[in-house]
Amino acid sequence: MKMRCCFQRSFCSASSSLVPVQLPSPMETHFWYVLPDQVKSVSLLNQYMGLLSPIEKENVLSMPGHQLQKRALLARALVRTTIARYQINGHVDPRSLKFKKNIHGKPEVVWQSEDGWCQPHLHFNISHSSSMIACGVTSNSRIGIDVEEKQRKIKNNILAFARRYFSLHEIEYLSSISDSEVQHQEFIKLWTLKEAYVKALGKGFSAAPFKTFTIHVKTDYKRSFVLAEDLLFEASEIMVESLNDPKSLTSSWQFALLELVGSHYAAICMEKDKSIKVGMKVPVRLTAWKTIPFVEDECVSGTDAVIPIGGLIKL
């Protein structure tokens, strides 16, 4: 079951290297995360700083306070080192990667190739909470991710918040939950799923204000079973319905909801492969790594660190 996973510990020397990884296959997501509390070495942080572009460095250093700077630094270091692992177009050095924002502000990689006709289709998206920074990667499929601490405090009354920002169906769902702790958890889960969808769309918040779409979670069944080498989790069926355009391409989006290291919810939204017929249920294949770039990569999908709690997920 864990044959695809391997625990690699490589201690860095002056010429630190990243363990290369093959690109994800269709309908597969690679999920990389780093826990800032585990990164304490000043020399390592300096090494990460050395990977950044001048503008990125400026942005990091302009954050007020050490914790925020460290978080910003780790976010950029995670993105650069993660993409560099896939060694696309010979890009092995994280420093050599160039980024831009699309017209809506979504960050993308700028691939420089001589002929220009072979553009890699690597997609990525990052998210962070105060105690986790994550990066999701796919091939040929738009992706959005969001991570939130399960215990994150919501200053406003949850239902007041939902009435203000969520769709009618979602408000009804949250209102039906009597236990305040469960309501809080379901709120956070819903928020991460909605955020992940908007980020996957990559058209900015105004293209899909939260009130204009509903996340439906069908929990008629909940089972997991072993299929050959893989674990298949059918935690629930998660779908998105656009209220402006109910028949639109919402069926082309796939969701996965995870509980990470017992403390976080992570939502992944990715575009279904074009070859999949409408209505076909295809699981999201997921491989997750906990990483300290240049120091240690640990494959955690299939362990307690990554628990599928929503969607159709294959580990």
Binding site: P64, G65, L68, F161, W191, S206, K211
Partner: protein, 142 residues
């Protein structure tokens, strides 16, 4: 000077070769994008003046009390340290706010000022000044 000093202090854990960059970036506030001055102690005071000048220009749009109230709400939502600098130029993202924080801040402002902010407008609020200006605009309409 407080904001510059703050940035310097936070940088001592990084290697000292980055100190110069620190000072560069702490001056390189987004509102001063067109300014590029050599880094030396002497240039700090004049930069400071420029910073205040731009603040003066912009705060004509929002009353100081409004701005202070917005700063307070932002501080509470983001649970910032008492010595963290929050002023008109502060961008929410630069203060460590994520999208959920921004939405909560807007809700807090709506409650405090008795206004209603459209969803699309809420997401376009990037800095404390943006929020204060929007509040003044909405209050005028009432």
């Amino acid at each position: 000077m407080a904001s510059i000093a703050g940035a310097s202090i936070s940088m001592t854990s990084f290697s000292s070769s980055l100190k110069l960059t620190t000072q560069t970036s702490s001056i390189g506030i987004s509102s001063l994008r067109s300014v590029s001055l050599p880094i030396s102690g002497r240039s700090f005071p004049s930069l400071r003046l420029k910073k205040d000048a731009s603040r003066f220009r912009v705060s004509c749009a929002a009353k100081p009390e409004t701005l202070d109230k917005v700063c307070e709400i932002v501080r509470n939502q983001l649970a910032l340290a008492p010595d963290a600098v929050v002023n008109g130029e502060s961008k929410f993202v630069a203060l460590g706010a994520d999208s959920l924080d921004t939405v909560e801040i807007v809700m807090g402002l709506e409650e405090e000022f008795g206004i209603s902010v459209e969803e699309e407008t809420a997401q376009s609020i990037v800095s404390v000044q943006d929020a204060a200006d929007l509040i003044e605009k909405l209050l005028e309409k009432k």
